[in-house]
Structures are given as structure tokens and as C-alpha cells.
């Protein structure tokens, strides 16, 4: 009987409380943080990887320069740094339930998926990364995530 009463009270409290912080956001943020750490690791190792290339054996910058040319390699390096910075900003924003961060994160995942698909057709598939981004896209597109962001936005505007 006691257990039943506690359960009922918990349920009633859950109805009165604000919606819980969506778990989906935590997972998406975690995946992005891992990506960013690995990008910086890549950069530190002078491995130029435009597409968060952490699951591939690192290539030396000389090797890449030989293949792609110095300019392209540099562009890729700066693109990686830019994506990493934007990724950090989006992750922080998403954890703070900001609407703009959702859009930026969705855009970043889209760019990543586009590169993954292009790589697949070029014969250089990176399946784990592809899977991670599919999961990110699905999680971020969940209705509860959107509702939480809208509610936070509404609260901020009213305060």
C-alpha cells in the first residue's frame, strides 16, 4: 500500500513539475563533444581532417599535402577548426536549451552527413561516424526536444 501511495505521489508531482531535461539533448551533446575532442586531437597531430576524421588512422600532414596540395590542406585545417568552434558553441547552447543552438547543431549534423555520404560514394566510407550522426539527427528531431526548447524560449521571453 505504501509503495502504491509513493508511486501515486511521484506521478502527481511529475504532472506538476516542469518537463524533464530531454535525455536526447545530453546524448547528442556527448557525441558532439567526443567529435570535437577528436578533431582537436587531429589538429594537434597535424592530421587534417575536415570531417571529424577520428576513426580513421591519422595521416601525416606531409602525406596529405602531397595528395591534396598545400592550399586545400590548409583550407581543410581551418574548416576543421571552424567546425569545432561552432560545434562547441552549439553544444553549450543546446545544453542551455537555446533554440538557435538546435538549428546550428542540425545544420552541422547535416554537413557531416553530406560529407559522409560523399565519402561513401568516393569509396572511403566511415560507417561508425555515419551511424553516430544518424542517431544525432533522429534524437535532435524528437518532439519532446522541440517542446523543451519552445518552453524555455517562452519562459525567457515572459521573464
Amino acid at each position: 500500500m505504501k509503495k502504491k501511495k509513493i508511486r501515486e505521489r511521484k506521478y502527481l508531482n511529475s504532472l506538476l513539475k516542469k518537463p524533464a531535461f530531454p535525455l536526447a539533448i545530453l546524448i547528442v551533446s556527448a557525441i558532439t563533444v567526443i567529435n570535437i575532442i577528436l578533431i582537436f586531437d587531429n589538429i594537434r597531430e597535424f592530421s587534417l581532417a575536415l570531417d571529424f576524421n577520428y576513426l580513421k588512422p591519422f595521416e601525416s600532414i606531409e602525406h596529405i599535402w602531397k595528395i591534396k596540395g598545400e592550399r586545400i590542406a590548409l583550407i581543410e585545417l581551418f574548416a576543421s577548426i571552424l567546425l569545432a568552434i561552432v560545434g562547441i558553441a552549439a553544444t553549450i547552447g543546446l545544453l542551455k536549451l537555446k533554440k538557435w543552438a538546435w538549428t546550428v547543431m542540425m545544420f552541422l549534423i547535416g554537413v557531416g552527413l553530406f560529407i559522409n555520404i560523399a565519402d561513401f560514394f568516393r569509396g572511403e566510407p566511415r560507417y561508425p561516424l555515419m551511424l553516430a550522426r544518424i542517431i544525432q539527427a533522429i534524437l535532435l528531431d524528437q518532439e519532446p526536444v522541440k517542446k523543451a526548447l519552445i518552453q524555455k524560449d517562452y519562459e525567457e521571453k515572459n521573464n
Binding site: M106, I109, Q142
Partner: protein, 607 residues
């Protein structure tokens, strides 16, 4: 004794008021003066044309003559005869052949292309290109038609409608047919098509209640739309404007389609090719929204995605005709017996051989272009979705009839249940007596019990259902008797609404972008083909995505576009993974299923 109202009096009593848009020059007129200024032609299947009656010699009576036509021949009128080179030069000197209404004070609203998305614009571009291959009314014809029409109107500027009264199963349908010299929607109002001659129609539906004739519904014809959505109830104060007993229609500039409210309408025409694709996309979208996204809202995908957009200007700021207006109606009564309606099956204007039909002139009120009977003529009730709707007084009668039939059925069923139950009791007693004998008789009894028990269950089920139906019917009768009934818009599934003012004031830059982007995209694509042939697919994809993103920024819909693109890419990537790891996925799935089952069963066993 009260005098019986004549058909003409009925027509006059409810004749609609038509409000036109500023810049419109064609108004409902009489056919006699038009036909006098036309020539009669026949088009042969081998693409040759022959003049049968020259201009000035043609009369309404001559239209009904029997002409020696062969299989595939098309009879048509020509309002604008083949222009001489002198005439063409003269008209070209006068100015532009297209966008003609601007000279008459008409101002275009927000561009139709700015109102719709990318896919619709691409389809529209392709549709526009088809005009190069299809037959179309040349721009010069619109210019000369304007002149010819003005000449006729100088001599006879009467606004005529052709009225028909049909009595059909309790309904009295008043059809008002309007004839226009020309439809200049494309050349004057940035619309889709032009054609010589135009027939439009409005119907008022009445019924008789205790010898008093009452109006109930109004239907304004609008392009090729049919069914319930076209209909408005007489007491619908929100959606139907009236002046006394006269419904007010707002006429589309150039096209002459009728609307219930003033404004600009975005009409979207479905492309035949996409009939099958649209439901498939809708299903995929529904699955994503409800199953994966866990959303109950499914409105993101519009059926209009794969359609050609066009704008209809029905502003009502121009000339008005009818009750309490400067211009009055001149009615002409018509019926199935009217010779020119019945016997002339040809087109009322130029036949351009347009396979889609939009640029060919229409046939008369009684026929379609292919000489088959016109739906709105032979079935005015079905045309408006009224074939299943009884008049209000008939509805109570039919409900009472249904109630009586149900009550009768209930009595029969109750008797059947009583009789079957008695038989079942008898068989049950017999079965218990035979219990343990195991013989043939016992088996037969068991079989009989089974059949009868089933039968009894069905009877009882029907009785229970009928009881519910009877209650509903009684409630409905009481509601109808109290005069409450349905709400005026209950029958409407899609309500056509004009575009809001705030949507019309759209940034000029966005309009320019909407107008130029598709052409610009095509040019860049060609440049890629020429200068980067090795990277066509990748470059074209990047180009297209960049355009879509630019478009979404212009429209303030970047977030939604980013979502759509990413989700689409996620689906593609998921398909790649399924393709590559099909068996691994199956094995992992089965293993996971097995582990789950073990855990669930073990937990159950432990509890």
C-alpha cells in the same frame, strides 16, 4: 389565391451580384452579338483548318445547322480572325502584348512564385517550357480580342446571364450561366492560360417547405473543382456575402472563376505525372512524423508541394453587376430544349490544339470540349456534392422512415432471439441427458448448439447496435426539429481562403529572388556541365543545397529547412548502412530480441 412563381421570377429573385477586379474588361454578355462577329471553322485531324461560315455571316441559327463532320473533326468559332501583318505591326507598336491589365489600373500583388516553395517553382518552370511546345493563344490575339470586344460593347453593352431552372428530387436548382468574350488571365493578369470565349456558372439551390420556397445552398464554379468544398450554406454569414436575396461573388480577374470572399487566391493545379508520387511522399512523411519523431502534428507535408502555383485576383474593387449596383442584369431563360445549347457541340472560340486543354476555348454549358455531357449540366446536385444531401424537410422524413424500419427490424430480431433461445434451452437439456454416451446423436446436438448459439449472438449484437442507431436517429430528429441542425461549414473539408494582407507585403528582394532563382540555377548548372564535367553530381548537389538554404534564409525558414535536409540525409545514410550491413543488422536484431525475451521471462519467473 397566390400566383405561382415563374422560373424567370425565381431566377430574378436570387440572381447573384458579381464584383470584378479593377482592370477587368470582359463582363458577362450576350452570345448573339459575339457570334455575329465570329467565323465558324472546322479543324481536321491532319492539322488543316477550314472556314465554314465567314465573319459577319454567322448567326445563332446557323450554329445549330448540321455540318458534314468526319471522325476527329473539331468545330470551333474564331473571335479573332487571322491577323494581317499590318494589324500585327499596329498592335506591337501599341505596346507590350503581355501584362496588359497594368495599363488599365490593375496592380499585381506578391508574385505567385514568391508564395510557394522551390519544388513548385521548378515544376512551374517546366510547365512554362511546355507552353513552347503546346498550342497556345498568341499574345496578338488578346490584343485584337480587346479591340473587337470593345466594338461589340459600344453597340450593345447589356450584361446578360443565361438562367436555367431544374427541379430534382425536392431541390430547385437555379443555374446562372455567364458568357465572356475572352479569358485573358495569362496575358493580362499573369495567370496560367488565355482562351477565346469563357463560360462560367453559379447555382443557387432552393427547396419547398409548406409551399414556401426557401434558399439553402449556393455554389460558385471555380476552375475544374467539384464537390462539397464548393458549396456554401445560405445562412453562412462568415463565408457567404449577400445583398438581400442576392449572393455576392468575387470574380477572378481574367479567368472569371468565382470566389466567396474578396482577395488574392493561391490556386494550385496538380500535375498529372505526380498523381502517384504525392500519396507515397505523404505516407513516408506520416511515418517519420508519427513513428520516429513522436509527433502528433502531421501538417508539415502539404499536398500542394508538387503542384503548379498560380494567383487569382478576385479583389472586387472594380465594376459590379446586379442588385443595387450601377449595372443591371438582363436574364435569358434556357433549358435542354434551347437549340444553340443542344445542337452546337463545338468550341465557342479558337481551337489551339493544346493537349492539356487550357488554351482551347470551352464548349457550351451543356458539353465538355470532347462533346461529352458536362457534369454540372446533367447532374447539378452531384456537381455540388448534394446528391447525398436531402432538403431539410426531407431529411426528417427520411430519418423517420429509417427509424420505422429499424423498429420493425428490432421486433423481428427480438422474436428470433426468443425462439432461438427456446431451441437452445431444449437442445442444452437434451445434450445433458445424452452426456457420456458419445454417440452420433450427441455430436449432432453439439453441432446444432454451436450453430444456434452463433446465430443468437449475432441477433443480440444487431439488437444492441440498432438500439444505439435508434437513439442517434431520435437525437438527430429532435435537433433538426428544434431548428439547430449542423453548423453552416460542417460539410467543408478544405476552406479556400484569400491570402492575408501581411503575406502580400513581401520583401521585394525575396520576390526578385523567387522570380530569378530557378533560371539562375539552370544557368549555373549548365556552367558546371561545361567547365566541371568530372564533378557534375557533387557540384550540382552542392549548388542545389546552397540555393535551398539561401531560399530558406530569404523566407525566414532556415531552421525548418536545416531539419528537412538533415533528416533526408539521415534517411539516405541509414539506407546505405542497411544496404552494407543487412545481415549484421538482422543477426544483431535477433540476438537483442533473444536477450530481451530471456530477461523478460526470467524476471517473470522470479516474481
Amino acid at each position: 389565391m397566390k400566383k405561382k412563381i415563374t422560373d424567370l421570377e425565381l431566377l430574378r429573385k436570387y440572381e447573384p451580384v458579381l464584383r470584378f477586379t479593377k482592370g477587368e474588361i470582359y463582363f458577362p454578355t450576350d452570345i448573339e452579338s459575339y457570334v455575329k462577329n465570329c467565323s465558324l471553322w472546322v479543324s481536321h485531324p491532319n492539322h488543316t483548318e477550314e472556314k465554314i461560315v465567314p465573319e459577319g455571316k454567322l448567326t445563332i441559327d446557323k450554329l445549330t445547322n448540321k455540318y458534314d463532320l468526319k471522325e476527329g473533326d473539331v468545330l470551333f468559332l474564331r473571335f479573332v480572325d487571322l491577323p494581317s501583318l499590318k494589324k500585327v505591326t499596329e498592335k506591337l507598336k501599341e505596346g507590350r502584348l503581355e501584362g496588359r491589365a497594368k495599363k488599365r489600373g490593375w496592380k499585381p500583388g506578391r508574385s505567385r512564385l514568391a508564395r510557394v516553395g522551390y519544388v513548385s517553382r521548378i515544376i512551374d518552370a517546366l510547365f512554362s517550357l511546355t507552353l513552347l511546345a503546346r498550342g497556345k493563344v498568341p499574345g496578338i490575339v488578346a490584343a485584337i480580342a480587346e479591340e473587337n470586344s470593345a466594338k461589340i460593347n459600344k453597340l450593345n453593352d447589356k450584361n446578360v446571364y443565361y438562367g436555367r431552372v431544374i427541379r430534382d428530387n425536392g431541390w430547385i436548382c437555379l443555374q446562372y450561366w455567364y458568357f465572356y468574350h475572352y479569358d485573358d488571365w495569362r496575358t493580362s493578369f499573369e495567370g496560367v492560360n488565355d482562351h477565346e470565349a469563357d463560360w462560367e456558372m453559379i447555382t443557387v439551390y432552393l427547396y419547398e417547405d409548406r409551399k414556401i420556397i426557401k434558399p439553402r445552398w449556393v455554389v460558385f464554379s471555380c476552375h475544374d473543382f467539384i464537390g462539397d468544398n464548393l458549396r456554401r450554406r445560405w445562412d453562412d454569414t462568415l463565408e457567404l456575402e449577400k445583398i438581400g436575396n442576392h449572393p455576392v461573388a468575387y470574380v477572378g480577374a481574367g479567368s472569371h472563376a468565382s470566389y466567396y470572399r474578396p482577395g488574392e487566391y493561391l490556386i494550385e493545379s496538380e500535375v498529372p505525372f505526380f498523381y502517384r508520387i504525392t500519396p507515397m511522399i505523404r505516407k513516408i512523411n506520416l511515418f517519420w512524423q508519427t513513428k520516429i519523431r513522436r509527433s502528433i502534428e502531421t501538417s508539415n507535408f502539404s499536398d500542394q508541394t508538387l503542384r503548379i502555383p498560380f494567383v487569382e485576383y478576385a479583389r472586387g474593387d472594380g465594376i459590379s453587376i446586379g442588385e443595387k449596383q450601377k449595372r443591371k442584369w438582363y436574364p435569358v431563360l434556357i433549358s435542354e430544349r434551347t437549340a444553340w445549347l443542344k445542337d452546337y457541340k463545338g468550341l465557342w472560340g479558337l481551337y489551339t490544339r493544346d493537349p492539356i486543354g487550357g488554351e482551347n476555348a470551352p464548349a457550351g454549358p451543356m458539353y465538355n470540349r470532347d462533346e461529352t455531357p458536362r457534369f454540372s449540366w446533367y447532374d447539378p446536385l452531384g456537381f455540388a456534392g448534394l446528391d447525398k444531401v436531402a432538403t431539410p424537410n426531407q431529411e426528417i422524413y427520411f430519418l423517420k422512415k429509417e427509424k420505422l424500419a429499424l423498429k420493425k427490424r428490432q421486433k423481428t430480431l427480438e422474436k428470433e432471439v426468443q425462439s432461438t433461445t427456446q431451441k437452445l434451452y431444449q437442445l442444452g437439456s437434451k445434450r445433458r441427458a445424452f452426456s457420456g454416451s458419445g454417440g452420433k446423436e450427441q455430436k449432432n446436438t453439439d453441432e446444432q448448439i454451436k450453430i444456434l448459439a452463433n446465430q443468437n449472438r449475432l441477433y443480440r449484437q444487431e439488437i444492441s447496435q440498432n438500439r444505439m442507431f435508434l437513439e442517434k436517429i431520435t437525437d438527430r430528429i429532435n435537433t433538426l426539429k428544434s431548428g439547430k441542425g449542423d453548423l453552416p461549414q460542417d460539410h467543408i473539408q478544405t476552406l479556400q481562403k484569400p491570402t492575408g494582407i501581411e503575406e502580400i507585403h513581401f520583401a521585394r528582394l525575396t520576390e526578385l529572388w523567387s522570380a530569378a532563382s530557378i533560371g539562375f540555377l539552370l544557368v549555373l548548372f549548365m556552367l558546371i556541365l561545361l567547365f566541371m564535367p568530372d564533378f557534375v553530381l557533387l557540384s550540382a548537389t552542392i549548388l542545389f543545397v546552397a540555393f535551398v538554404i539561401a531560399e530558406s534564409i530569404f523566407r525566414g525558414r532556415f531552421a525548418e529547412t536545416a531539419r528537412t535536409i538533415t533528416v533526408t540525409l539521415a534517411i539516405v545514410a541509414a539506407l546505405i548502412l542497411i544496404w552494407q550491413f543487412f545481415w549484421t543488422i538482422i543477426i544483431v536484431g535477433l540476438l537483442a530480441g533473444g536477450v530481451y525475451l530471456i530477461l523478460t521471462n526470467v524476471r517473470e519467473a522470479l516474481v
